[in-house]
Subunit: 602 residues, 2 copies
Amino acid sequence: MANPVLPSSGVLSPLGLDAVRISPGFWGDRVALNREVTIAHCREWEEREGWIGNFRGEGPRRGREFSDSEIYKLLEAMAWADHPDLPELAETVARVQEGDGYINTRWSGSRYTDLEWGHELYCYGHLIQAGVARLRMHGEDRLTRVATRAADHVCRRFMEGTETCGHPVIEMALVELYRVTGVERYLEMARRFVERRGLPALADIPFGRGYFQDDVPVRQAQVFRGHVVRALYLASGVVDVAVETGDEELLKAVEAQWERTVARRTHLTGGMGSRHQDESFGEDYELPPDRAYNETCASIASIMLAHRLLLATGDVRYADLTERTLYNMLATGVALDGRSFFYANPLQVRVPAVPHDGVNHAAEGGLRSPWFDVSCCPNNVARTLASLPAYLATSGADGVRIHQYTPGEISHGDLRLRVETGYPWDGTVTVRVLEGGAGRISLRVPAWASSATLTYQDHETRAVAPGYADVEREWRAGDALVLELPMEPRWTYPDRRIDALRGCVTVERGPLVYCAESVGDEPPLAEVAVRPGAPLTEHARGEVVELETEAVLGASPAGPWPYRDRPHGWNGGPAAALRLIPYHRWGNRGPATMRVWLPVAD
Amino acid sequence: MANPVLPSSGVLSPLGLDAVRISPGFWGDRVALNREVTIAHCREWEEREGWIGNFRGEGPRRGREFSDSEIYKLLEAMAWADHPDLPELAETVARVQEGDGYINTRWSGSRYTDLEWGHELYCYGHLIQAGVARLRMHGEDRLTRVATRAADHVCRRFMEGTETCGHPVIEMALVELYRVTGVERYLEMARRFVERRGLPALADIPFGRGYFQDDVPVRQAQVFRGHVVRALYLASGVVDVAVETGDEELLKAVEAQWERTVARRTHLTGGMGSRHQDESFGEDYELPPDRAYNETCASIASIMLAHRLLLATGDVRYADLTERTLYNMLATGVALDGRSFFYANPLQVRVPAVPHDGVNHAAEGGLRSPWFDVSCCPNNVARTLASLPAYLATSGADGVRIHQYTPGEISHGDLRLRVETGYPWDGTVTVRVLEGGAGRISLRVPAWASSATLTYQDHETRAVAPGYADVEREWRAGDALVLELPMEPRWTYPDRRIDALRGCVTVERGPLVYCAESVGDEPPLAEVAVRPGAPLTEHARGEVVELETEAVLGASPAGPWPYRDRPHGWNGGPAAALRLIPYHRWGNRGPATMRVWLPVAD
C-alpha cells in the first residue's frame, strides 16, 4: 500500500504506487525526469548550500531555521522513488538525533524557545512523512526509526499543555504514522494539536494570529486565511484527524472552508495566495493576476488537501480542482529540464527577468531559478512527482475510479487496466482491460467537459455529464471503454466581483489555462486586447497545442497623466495575430512577459 | 524667511510663514487643529511609548531603531508652530549628544555598524530639519546647536569614503542647513551623499538595492523605484543639491524621473506606492486600488519634492500635483479630530475594520489609528501642516504667484493681498488688494479646470487656460481679481494600461477625488456599478459637497467557481441611488468599506 495518504475509512481508497504504474506521457515524462534529474539536483544544491553539512556539523550552521525540513522533503522524494542515495543521506541525518529523540541542527541548545517561528515541529512533520514513505515503500530502516523516535519525543513533550507549532504539517504526518504503525498516541497527539489551534496556542505576531491560523478554532473558521501553505497543510491534517476519529462536524467544517475558498479565493490556475507580503490568501475576490503569489508549495498543499477530501467524500469537485492544479500549477512550477523552479506563479508578468550571471534568484520575469534561500518548492515538487501515481485512481466498494488521465496501468483485485491517451492535448481516453474481473469502472468527466461521450465496445456512444461516468459489468481482457472529452478551446470570463480581472477574458482548452507570452516584447503585452468569441485556431507544435486569435494593439502613446475625461479603449489600433500557449509552458524561452487574462477590445 | 525650503536660486522663491498667513477655511482649520491638538497628541504618545524616555535613559530602550527621528519630526512641527513645549523637549534630546556630536539612543555603543538599516543618518536628517526650522523661526538656541553639532559630526565622519545611509533625508537637511548658515561643507557633504548612491554605496539586501535607490546612480535612473519615502526624500535632496551647485543635468534627471513616475506610477489621489511588501512603487501601470499602499508619509515626500521642482522651474505641473496630493492624501491621512491617522491610503477597502478595544492598530478598514509602532505618519503630518503656508505662494522676478487657494493673506514687498474663497467646495477665488504696489499677480488655473475665467475689477471677464493666469499692473488697495474655476463634477477614466482599473470610472469635482463609502455594508460595494455620463447631483452637507448618482446593484449569488463561459455583468440588477463623498472625508464614520473606482454597468 505505497501511498502518502491511506485513511482507514472514507468513501474511496487510494490506489498507490504499487497499483498504478505510469508510462511515458504528460505525467509519466515528468515523473521520470523527476526521478532522474530533479532529485539529484536538489541533493546537489542542499550540499552546496551547506544544509546537509549542518547535519555533519561542518563549520557554522548555514541556511534558514527550517532548512532541515528540505532534507526531509528530499528524503521523502527518495523514498517514493526508491532512490539509491537514501540510506546514506538518512545515516547523515540520524547522527544528529539526541538521546530523547529530539533532532534539529538549529535549535538544539534552545529547544522550543520560539514555537511561533522556530519550525521545529514543522521539521519533524516532514521527517515523519519521509519515514512513513519509507515504511510503506521499503519497511523499517534507519530513517524510519529516526522518524518514529522523533514522533515519540513529540508525544512525550507536547501531549499535555497548550502548545503547537507556528507552521502546521506535524498534524498530517502524525496521523499517517498512526495509520502505518497503528500506534494510537500519534493520532491523539495530532488531534490535540488540531484542537489547540485558535484557542489561541501561539503568541501574537505583527502579521496577526490569522497568519498561522491561530485566530479562531478550526471548527469555527469560515474560510482558509493567512499563510496559504500553513492553512492548507493544517486543513489536510484536520481532515486526517476527522476521518480517523469519525468526527463528521470537523470534516464538514473543512469542506465548507474549502468551498468558500475555491469560490472566492482561488485563481483560475488553481493557484492560491494573493499577497506577497505574508504569502497569504487575500480577501474574498482579491485575485490580482500580476501580484498573485500562488506559491508552488501552496498548489502542492492544495492537491494534498483535495485528495484527502476526495477520499473522504468521493465528491468529484475535489478531483476537478486537483486536475486544474496539477496541469496549471504543479506543471508550471518546474522547468521542462527539471532543474529550475518558480516560487510564485503570477498570471501576469509585466517586466522580463534581468538575470545576474545567468541566474534569476527571484524566479520572476519568466526565468525559473535553480534554487532559493527558502527552497521548499523544489523539494516539494520532487516529493509530489515521486508519489504522483497515488493521486490518479481509487477503489471503492463498487470498483475502480479513474480521476486523472495519463498513460499507465491500474490494478485492483483481479482487474488490470491500461489507460491510453494523448491527454491533455487530445481528448480521447481509452481504458483497455488487460485482465478481467467483475465490478464498476468509473471515469471522471471534468466539470469543464460539457459534451463528453462514453463508448463501451460496440455499444452505442452515450453522452456523459460532468461527474463520474460508470460502467458496471463482468470485464474481460480486451474490453475497452472510450471517453471522448471535448477539446475545443473555450473563452473564459471572470466573476464580476473579481475587481482585478474586470474587462478581461482568457482561453482554456481541456484542463489547460492558456496565456500570451512575449519574448523581447513582441507583441507588447501591455497593449494587447482580444475579441472573445473570435476564432481560436489550433497549431500543433510537437505534442503541444498552441492557439492563435486575432488581437488589437493599442496605438496611442502614454500621456503625462494616466487618467482622463473619456474612455481610453483600443478602437482604431492595428490588428495582429496573437499566439496563446499553455500556461504551464511559459517561461521556457528565457526572460519574458506574460498574461493569462487579456483585455477585451471595445 | 520662515521656510522649510529656501533655495538660493530658481525661477520662483517661496513666500514663507512670515509672508503667508492662513485664516479659517479648509486648510486654515486643519493648520489650527494641528497646532492645538495633533502636536500635543504626538507628544503624549511619544512619552507613552517611551521614545522620549529613551533620551532620558529611562529603563531598557523602547521602540524601533529609528524612533529618535519621531521626536525630531515633532520638534520640527513645534518649531514651525512656535510651540511652547519645544525648549524643554530640545533640552531632553540635547543631553544624549556625545562629545563629538554623535547622537542616537539606539546605536551609541555600536555606531554605524548597520548603515543599511540603522537609520542613524536618517535620524540626523530629521534633527537637522528641526534645527533649520528653529533657526528660521526663532534663531539660535539649544536645539539648533545640537543639530549643527550633529551635522558637523556627519561631515567629519563621512566626508571621505563611500558610505551613505539606507534611508535618505540627510541630503536635503544638509543643503537647507547650508542655506541657513552659509557653511559650504554641508552642501558638499550632501553632494557627496547624492553622488555615492548607486555606485553602489550599500550592501545588498533581500529586497534588492533598488529598495534604497542604490541600484543605479541618480543621474542614470529613469524613474522613481523602490521604497517610496526613501525615493522621494532622496529626489528632494538631489534637487536641492542640483539647484545649489547649478547642476542642470542632475535637475533634468530628477524631472524626467518625476515625469515618468507621475505618468505611470501615481494613483488618482496623488498617492504613490503600490506594494505593501516593501512599501515600494510597483512597475509602470501597476496601480491596484485595493492594495495601493500610498503611505501618508510618501504623499508628504511627494509634496516636498514637487515644491522644490516648482521653485526650481516654475512649471505649473508641480503645483498641480501638489494640489491633488494635499486635498486627497494629506487631508485624508488625518482624521477630522486630528487624533488618528491612516498609514496606507488604498482606493478600495473590501472589509471593514474590526477594532480591538476601540483601537485599530493597522488603520485599515475605515478606522484611523491614534498611533503606530512605526509612527512616522502622525509626526510627518504635524510638521507638514505646521509649515503649510510656505507651500501656497511664491514670488519671482515678476511678482506674486498663488499656487494653492485657501483663505489668508499674502505679503510681498509693498503688496498685501487677501484671498477669499470657499475652495475647494466653491470655485470662486477672490484676490483682494489690501495694500497696493506694482507688479504681476499670477493665479494658478489647475489642469482640470478647462473653462476657468478671470475678472479684474469692471474689466471684461476672460477665459483663462490651465497654467498661470497673469495680471500685471499698478495695484491699488481695493482692487480685486476674481478667478472662477468650474466645479461641475467630472467622470474620470483610467488609462487602458492600468490593468487594475479596467472597466471602472470615478468622479472628481474640483481638486477632489470622490468615493463611495459604505457603513454596515449599505450599499454593498462589492456589487455596485455606475453609468458614466449619468447625472451627478450635488448635495450640501454642511460645507461639504456630496454627490449622488444612479447605480446598479448586482443581483445574482456567488457560484462555486468564480470563472464562467459567458460575461458576468450587472444587467438586470435593481437600480439604487449611490452617494459619493470626497475621498478625504472617508473613514470618519467608523469601520467602513470604500471604493474610489466604480465598475461601469454594462
